[in-house]
């Protein structure tokens, strides 16, 4: 990692609220992870319970569990991509807010 370049950039942008924006993005990411893991763990626990109750339906229950987990992960990843977009555009947004036009 090019630490000198990062330090120079941080110095330039210290007048704007880039730090607060990064904290907001990181907290949002953590909330997304909490929501997704709650949903998928509920599916998994019910699937395990029902396979224990009826082992011969194990194949179909496993398939349904995998499909539901992938659907939930679908919009989870959409939210993560929104966070990534915010983080990757922080520099341009901060320069806009500081009035640096180049």
């Amino acid at each position: 990692m090019n630490f000198e370049m990062l330090a120079a950039q941080a110095d330039l942008l210290s007048g704007s609220s880039v730090g607060l924006a990064i904290v907001g993005t990181a907290i949002g990411c953590g909330l997304i992870v909490i929501g997704a893991s709650l949903g998928i763990s509920k599916i998994a626990s019910n699937a395990v319970e029902s396979i224990a109750r009826q082992p011969e339906a194990g194949g179909r229950i496993f398939t349904t569990m995998i499909i539901s987990a992938a659907l939930i992960e679908g919009f989870t990843f959409f939210a993560i991509v929104v966070c990534l977009l915010g983080v990757s555009n922080l520099e341009t947004l901060a320069k806009l807010s500081l009035g640096i036009t180049e």
Partner: protein
């Protein structure tokens, strides 16, 4: 030596191995065509499919063995477990498109896991940069797959039921005051569903490769063999998970497109 490894593996920025890198531009009929590494990987996947699958289907014995057995097992699984429950008697009309989608996404995902960048860099003594990559980690590639699915779903629904019949069966039966609301909701749903398909595939591949790149960057930045060793063992395990995710995402995409085509072709009431 560290500089060589660093430029192969992490390049200082975990996202630089997943994003598109422009290789050269072509002038085609007055318009500019940007050839990037993702385009090269899509062409590689297409050429591999066109070469391997007819070779596998060429075997003439009754009992399948070898390469043909491998592909036939996957194709039969897709046709019997995914397509036939959803499509019923229309299976054979759509199975070509479904097989193509599945194998294209699978080959693109798996080619993304092959370290073509590092191998070409080592073999060419530092000349070739950023020639490989995961094609499906590009929103435009998955977006093109989703646009194809969108047209496949609605055009086959219109062809099966006629345009007016399709529009009439677009919404579930509700009391008449709710009909305009239902049309708005179904229209939004018809746009959102392929978008979600493309985002799911794109974000899964992007996230996997980004985490791998960040972990390897962490291993290098720690400057100690112990931490690097443990991190690289974690990267190996994560790569195994990525291989599973490659197959799973291709399966999920194909499964959902089958469901949507089934819902468009004979809507259940």
């Amino acid at each position: 030596m560290i500089k060589l490894i660093d430029s192969i593996l992490a390049s200082g920025d975990p996202l630089s191995h997943v994003v598109q890198h422009e290789l050269f531009r072509l002038e085609v009929g007055g318009h500019e065509l940007v050839v990037s590494n993702h385009l090269v990987m899509v062409l590689t996947a297409a050429v591999l499919l066109v070469i391997i699958l007819p070779l596998a289907a060429r075997q003439r014995t009754i009992v399948p063995t070898g390469l043909r057995n491998f592909f036939e097992a996957i194709c039969v699984f897709i046709r019997e477990e995914i397509a036939r429950p959803a499509l019923g008697e229309n299976t054979d009309k759509f199975i070509g498109y479904l097989w193509t989608t599945f194998f294209f996404i699978l080959f693109c995902n798996l080619l993304g896991m092959v370290p073509t960048d590092g191998i070409l860099y080592l073999v060419s003594f530092g000349k070739l940069h950023n020639l490989g990559g995961a094609a499906t980690a590009n929103i435009w590639v998955t977006g093109a797959l989703a646009v194809t699915a969108f047209f496949m779903i609605h055009l086959s629904g219109i062809r099966q039921q006629g345009f007016l019949g399709y529009v009439k069966n677009f919404i579930p039966p509700v009391p008449w005051p709710l009909i305009p609301v239902m049309y708005v909701l179904e229209f939004i749903g018809a746009l959102v569903k392929p978008f979600a398909l493309s985002i799911r595939l794109f974000a899964n591949m992007l996230a996997g490769h980004t985490v791998l790149g960040a972990l390897i960057g962490l291993a290098l930045a720690s400057k100690s063999f112990g931490v690097a060793g443990v991190t690289l063992a974690g990267c190996a395990a994560l790569s195994l998970l990525e291989l599973f995710v490659a197959f799973l995402q291709a399966y999920i995409f194909t499964f959902l497109v089958t469901l949507f085509i089934g819902a468009a072709v004979h809507p259940e009431h």
